[in-house]
């Protein structure tokens, strides 16, 4: 009896919620929202159940890549404050379980998306998982300060997959939705890196703040924010844009550039003095920036049903 009890205590068995946590639910919500937008703004309508299933499998594919990312990064997750409570460093899930879970779910989500929607969308999801896990997590993240720039592509693919579910292909609209998230990712994460000071350095992750210094990071944020604006505004001129999107995008880009300019003008002493207030505000606003752009696209598509949206 004593032996049995000790065996129980030595064997950590994960609960259902621990496996859900492996899927990075917060990242998943962004994947669901952007993929759903890509699906709904596409010019081809999809049966609601096929659309629901497709978004579910895209979300599961995104979650699977999150589990594989946690398996590979378990060593640095133990060091960084932000990631210390993830299931593997917290001792709730073993690395082997995370690997098996991630691989099985990857295969499952790709095959099911191929069957539910079309094989182009399935292959696109497979490529996205490969890109996030192999290209970003295994290769770029620990080897180059441009990790966020190229790795950000993985997070930018979901609206293209949603579009592919409906149309079976790629369009200028889906490429511009990709570019919107792709160009948005670096300033978003570099702002985070500015106020999560020691985390990345402690874990030896070559973030721009660590390799090129904080002044260079501030300049990079401004440059990428300026480069982002034309892509965001270009969407307004496509078949999925319209006056509502254009107005929203003009305001959002104006505010985003103003925030980036504020960050660029500050030095470390000023930022330290007010506990990185401007950087934190910029980071918070970056989430609204992306969310509202996609809401505006949805509004155009919704109003088009009544003959109002678009140009």
């Amino acid at each position: 009896m004593t032996d049995t009890t000790s065996v129980f205590e030595k064997t950590p068995e994960a609960e259902f919620g621990d496996f859900v946590a492996l899927l990075k639910p917060r990242v998943m919500s962004l994947v669901v929202f952007t993929a759903l937008t890509g699906l709904l703004v596409a010019p081809v309508s999809v049966h609601p159940l096929v659309g629901f299933a497709s978004i579910l499998f895209i979300a599961l594919g995104g979650g699977a890549s999150g589990a594989l990312n946690m398996w590979w990064d378990a060593d640095i997750d133990r060091i960084m404050r932000r990631t210390r409570n993830r299931p593997i460093p917290a001792g709730k899930v073993t690395e082997g379980e995370a690997l098996g879970f991630g691989l099985a779910l990857s295969g499952f989500s790709v095959v099911m998306l191929g069957l539910a929607a079309n094989w182009f969308a399935g292959a696109f999801l497979a490529f996205t998982i490969f890109f996030y896990v192999v290209v970003y997590t295994m290769w770029l993240k620990r080897s180059t300060p441009q990790n966020i720039v190229i790795g950000g592509a993985a997070g930018a693919f979901p609206p293209m997959i949603g579009w592919a579910v409906a149309t079976g292909g790629i369009g200028i609209e889906s490429v511009l939705m990709f570019m919107l998230i792709f160009m948005w990712t670096p300033p978003h994460f570099w702002a985070l890196a500015l106020f999560m000071k020691s985390d990345y350095a402690d874990a030896d992750v070559p973030m721009l703040t660590v390799t090129h210094g904080r002044k260079a990071t501030r300049t990079h944020i401004l440059v990428y924010t300026l480069l982002l604006a034309p892509f965001a505004l270009a969407l307004a001129a496509t078949s999925i844009g319209g006056p509502i999107y254009l107005a929203a995008s003009l305001v959002l880009n104006g505010l985003f550039i103003a925030g980036a300019l504020r960050i660029w003008r500050r030095d470390e002493a000023t930022a330290e003095a007010d506990s990185y207030r401007a950087e934190k505000r910029f980071f918070g606003f970056s989430l609204s920036y992306l969310f509202l752009h996609f809401v505006a696209l949805l509004a155009e598509a919704g109003l088009a049903q009544f003959g109002w949206g678009g140009w």
Partner: protein
């Protein structure tokens, strides 16, 4: 004998198995629904020449 005693581990396993059962049941329902949609789509049974003809009695 020792396994008859309820341990915290058993509760955790039950919770996990229960949720897994719910997920599997939902998956079965989803595949069933998808099958209905796919089979009932623009197949030959909805082709114009298969549509029920209007009869005078029905007018």
């Amino acid at each position: 004998m020792a396994f008859q005693e309820q341990h915290e581990l058993h509760k955790r396993r039950f919770g996990r198995n229960l949720w897994l059962g719910v997920v599997l049941a939902a998956f079965v329902a989803l595949v069933f629904g998808l099958t209905i949609v796919k089979v009932g789509g623009d197949g030959p049974d909805t082709a114009p020449d298969q549509a029920p003809a209007e009869t005078e009695a029905g007018q």
